[in-house]
């Protein structure tokens, strides 16, 4: 049991979230976590969570289209990955990202969230990972976005609104506008680039 948990009654994630970021690559993190077992390398675990929580969350949002389900996925996958690393069951640390993606896919396919496996994991690792799953998703400057939207050519604004109101693919938007899906994609891309340029004038709009 790491000293941190004995000395500090706060939940694990709360305790480690302020640890400084590490610069090593993903494989190095994986090796550090495995090497520390059965103790915990707090800094390496925190960095792994910091690095992958946003990617897992976006995978969840993309495939589950639900914020709560995506948050559950982040917790489940991080718990599973940490468990595997601590148990030294990740055989190719240099392929950690692929391993995490595979775990995401499996969890989504199996629909295990909320099931027995999750409860068992949460009991085993009483650590509260929620703060680490927070990816710092900063709010946009709503006033600036409003101005930028109003500056767009009308056709681009309509396509962006009809696309992103409920995240519709080009084909569905095209049907509503009497346009081809290809045409909608071109207008959508042009609009997004213009909007990004307006929101972040200094950023390279690559």
């Amino acid at each position: 049991m790491p000293a941190l948990l004995i000395a500090n009654p706060r939940p694990y994630a709360e305790a480690v979230r302020h640890l400084p970021p590490l610069t090593g690559d993903d494989a190095e993190l994986a090796r550090r976590i495995a090497a520390a077992a059965p103790d915990r390398d707090d800094a390496a675990e925190a960095e792994l969570c910091r690095r992958f929580a946003p990617r897992i969350r976006f995978y969840g949002l993309r495939h589950l289209r639900n914020e709560a389900a995506a948050a559950d996925l982040v917790q489940d996958v991080l718990l599973m990955i940490l468990q595997k690393l601590r148990a030294r069951e990740v055989r190719e640390p240099e392929r950690l990202a692929s391993f995490i993606l595979g775990t995401c896919r499996q969890v989504v396919i199996d629909g295990r969230r909320g099931g027995l496996r999750r409860e068992r994991l949460l009991e085993t690792f009483a650590a509260d990972l929620s703060p680490l799953a927070d990816d710092g998703f900063e709010a946009l400057d709503a006033g600036r976005l409003r101005e930028c939207l109003q500056r767009l050519p009308e056709r681009e604004r309509a396509v962006l609104v009809m696309t992103f109101y409920d995240e519709r693919p080009a084909e569905a938007v095209g049907v509503e506008l009497g346009l081809s899906a290809g045409n909608v994609r071109v207008i959508r891309h042009r609009g997004i680039e213009r909007l990004r340029g307006c929101m972040q004038p200094a950023e390279d709009a690559s």
Partner: protein, 190 residues
């Protein structure tokens, strides 16, 4: 792959296609492999998704004036948005307002659009004496109408105003008025 660099950045258009579920099978799987190993690209995906989310929020807050379609308005209503609707025939006028519990206010402008290639809208705010033109709006000619969505947040600040709108069919060297409409707006009164 290092967390700090990307040797093959994914184009923004591909990231958007992925986010909207337009990439199929192997292409999607390949991109996901890349995104999980590439912090710069996954951060760019987050930025794009956040922008998309912001557009949705701006619309829900009534901050996005736009020319839309009847089908899209039905989608808004189906998702629970309270939409006040006015319907005008060519040459028509209407007394209009926005109530406190309206999320959005729209006007269905009915017009013969069958042969129209490009459609512009000309606005004339009689009360303030200002004019402006909106060029090349997206429309579905088969519906014989366009839907005007004003900036509702701005509209709530207006006490009384009269605004005329003309639909213009723009051809190669000429343009013609298809229809005009008049809106007599007054602040909502209980």
């Amino acid at each position: 792959m290092s967390a700090a660099s990307c040797t093959a950045p994914t184009p923004a258009s591909t990231l958007i296609d992925y986010w909207l579920g337009e990439l199929e099978g192997e292409r999607e799987a390949k991109l996901e492999e890349h995104l999980f190993g590439c912090e710069p690209c996954s951060a760019r995906l987050r930025d794009l998704a956040r922008l998309g989310e912001g557009i949705g929020h701006a619309l829900r807050a009534g901050h996005v004036p736009a020319v839309l379609t009847p089908a899209f308005i039905r989608r808004l209503q189906a998702s629970g948005m309270r939409v006040r609707e006015y319907r005008l025939q060519p040459g028509g006028s209407v007394n209009c307002t926005v109530a406190p519990d309206d999320d959005l206010v729209i006007a269905h402008l009915h017009a013969p659009l069958g042969s129209v290639q490009r459609l512009d809208l000309l606005f004339d705010d009689v009360t303030s004496g200002t004019h402006w033109r909106v060029e090349d709006v997206a429309f579905d000619a088969s519906t014989e109408e366009v839907v005007l969505l004003p900036d509702v947040a701005e509209l709530r600040q207006v006490t009384v105003a009269t605004q005329r709108v003309q639909l213009l069919a723009v051809e190669r060297t000429t343009e013609r008025v298809i229809a005009d409409y008049t809106f007599n707006h007054s602040r909502y009164q209980t």
